[in-house]
């Protein structure tokens, strides 16, 4: 029972971390970033392959995060030249391409067989509990930052970039920091996924998780960050996991599975606005 709870909470933590990754981009640049899952998948592969080849853990961690960060900065640079819709289209295509490459280079990634984490030291229950506590602490820390001067500058940059520029905020610097943070969190999500499942397949992280993380991140602007964050990530990630295993009959579970995401998206699109200007017009 305890092990099953750990699995559910770990999946919730993965969801929280990926949501934070999408949230940073959304908050500072007002763009929908769907590639969190793909970057997590790439970091996961990097981690598994190096640790299966007995490379030291410190080296892997020190090289993994910078690579993920550079990747997100490169991808998010495209968003400077495209509108929201065009950026979504490009990221959708990039996700497909990454998946194809992961299938193609099967000597490295295991291809359609996937790849198992062979090092048993990551099976430790203490490591999993530490990761859970670490993620909760991170979320609390981010919540605190939101209500400081930096947090408000950040929010203004996303809502009205021209306004922020006119009062002297360097929006390029803020954009860079949010791209950095987004890459870091995507990578962390991939890492937690590998440690909790011990196996990675190209179809695993790329399909749904990016969209789920984004839909959880959209409602997070404004007040009550912690409450909204907990509720949205719980409903989309943890509750979905729990529902899958609840002993309430197969038929009800099948009906509720994928409809939750669809209903959530429709609900937030009707209820929430993504810019201050849109709110004024309504």
């Amino acid at each position: 029972m305890f092990n099953y709870l750990i699995v559910v909470v770990l999946f919730w933590c993965i969801g929280m971390v990926l949501t934070l990754s999408a949230f940073f981009v959304f908050k500072s640049d007002n763009k929908f970033f769907l590639m969190t899952g793909s970057i997590a998948s790439m970091s996961g592969y990097y981690f598994i392959i190096l640790s299966n080849n007995n490379v030291s853990l410190l080296y892997i961690l020190f090289s993994l995060f910078p690579i993920a960060i550079i990747l997100s900065i490169v991808i998010l640079h495209i968003s400077r030249y495209t509108s929201q819709f065009q950026f979504i289209l490009v990221t959708l295509a990039l996700i497909e391409m990454v998946k194809r490459f992961e299938f193609h280079f099967d000597r490295i990634t295991g291809g359609s067989y996937g790849v198992r984490l062979s090092t048993l030291s990551f099976d430790s229950i203490y490591l999993k509990i530490f990761l859970i506590l670490f993620v909760f602490a991170l979320v609390y820390f981010i919540n605190r930052i939101n209500y400081t001067r930096i947090g408000y500058l950040w929010e203004i940059t996303g809502l009205t970039p021209l306004g922020a520029q006119s009062i002297g905020i360097n929006i390029n610097k803020i954009f860079l920091i949010s791209a950095l943070a987004s890459g870091f969190f995507s990578c962390l999500g991939g890492l937690i996924y590998i440690i909790s499942y011990g196996y990675l397949h190209p179809n695993d992280l790329s399909n749904d998780l990016g969209l789920m993380a984004l839909s959880a991140a959209i409602i997070l602007r404004g007040r009550n960050f912690l409450v909204k964050f907990t509720l949205s990530t719980f409903v989309l990630f943890a509750f979905r996991e729990i529902l899958r295993f609840a002993d309430i009959g197969n038929t009800v579970r099948f009906a509720v599975y994928d409809l939750i995401l669809g209903i959530f998206l429709v609900f937030i699109s009707i209820k929430f606005n993504n810019t201050l200007i849109e709110k004024r017009n309504n």
């Binding site: 929908f32 495209i78 030249y81 495209t82 929201q84 819709f85 065009q86 979504i88 289209l89 490009v90 959708l92 295509a93 990039l94 497909e96 391409m97 194809r100 490459f101 299938f103 193609h104 969209l211 839909s215 959209i218 197969n250 038929t251 099948f254 009906a255 599975y257 994928d258 409809l259 995401l261 669809g262 209903i263 959530f264 998206l265 429709v266 609900f267 937030i268 699109s269 009707i270 929430f272 606005n273 993504n274 849109e278 017009n281 309504n282």
Partner: protein
């Protein structure tokens, strides 16, 4: 180079070009990009085949398919009215949520696992259409070209078209001019839903009937829309051209790399079009600014 590749590209592009026509209509008239029309595609495909299972009459079943497409187009219109006109990207997200709901429902009803729906028989698109491959190519080509021509005629000679363009350009002004923009919006959505239903029937003839029909279409159809821009005469050409690029890339390269290369070239073309348009728009803005300042 094998001539068969051109035929393959043609076969792929037929279904997508009809759907892109529906998207084009929605974009030109309503200045809206949404995924709700993909639900019309799935509904058209399934509606047509279930109607054939019950009535055994091709004409009635095709009509049924179109009607199902129209109904779901109407639901999509209703959703967009609820979301609000100004919220462009929220509209996109909401329509994607609507697509996920409809697709999930169809998966469950047509055999995804709920015992309660066991009475619903399975369907196959082969029972409606017993065309051979060359017959299907000819049929699809004729339908596609015909719809394009009809659309151009509609654009040039029908007052609904001009009213819709006015509504798309300036919603508030059209209200002032008593054009009833909400009614126009719904009418256009119904029309586009019908066209999307027809495209669903054509695509199902070729690719068979399965609930994941919608996912393949999204990326390609939107790429065609972006690259075509506002020039409807080039719609079919661009859909054929993009399908041809993917076909050639898959033919030349081995493994999944071929598909990745094809996809990346399509994305490159889309990006170039976007950048080109953005550069043109910014040049136009600079020109306007100079004109204003010189006065």
């Amino acid at each position: 180079m094998n001539y068969q590749i051109f035929l393959n590209a043609l076969a792929t592009s037929i279904g997508y070009s009809v759907f892109s026509l529906a998207l084009y209509g929605q974009f030109t008239y309503l200045r809206m990009i949404s995924i709700s029309l993909v639900t019309s595609v799935i509904a058209g495909a399934y509606g047509c085949n279930y109607a054939y299972l019950m009535t055994n009459n091709p004409t009635i079943s095709i009509l049924c398919g179109v009607i199902c497409g129209i109904i779901l187009g109407f639901c999509g219109a209703f959703l967009h009215i609820k979301i609000g006109r100004e919220k462009e990207v929220m509209g996109l997200l909401g329509s994607f949520g609507y697509f996920v709901i409809i697709q999930g429902l169809i998966t469950i009803i047509t055999g995804g696992g709920i015992e309660a729906f066991k009475f619903i028989p399975p369907v196959s698109s082969n029972m409606l259409c017993s065309f051979t491959y060359p017959e299907w190519l000819l049929f699809g080509l004729i339908i596609s070209v015909l719809l394009n021509v009809l659309y151009i005629i509609f654009q040039k000679f029908f007052s609904l078209s001009t009213k819709a363009i006015a509504t798309g350009d300036n919603y508030e002004l059209s209200k002032l001019l008593n054009l009833n923009p909400r009614k126009i919006e719904i009418n256009i959505q119904l029309l586009c839903g019908g066209i999307a239903g027809i495209s669903g029937i054509i695509i199902a003839f070729d690719k068979g009937l399965h609930p994941d029909l919608g996912y393949d279409i999204i990326l390609k159809a939107f790429a065609i829309l972006i690259v075509t821009g506002l020039n409807i005469y080039l719609l079919f050409f661009w859909s054929f051209f993009l399908a041809l690029i993917e076909s050639i890339a898959t033919y030349l390269f081995d493994g999944q790399i071929g598909q990745a290369v094809g996809l990346s070239i399509v994305v490159l073309i889309v990006l170039i079009t976007i950048l080109n348009k953005n550069i043109q728009i910014s040049r136009m803005k600079v020109k306007l600014k100079e004109q204003v300042l010189s006065v």
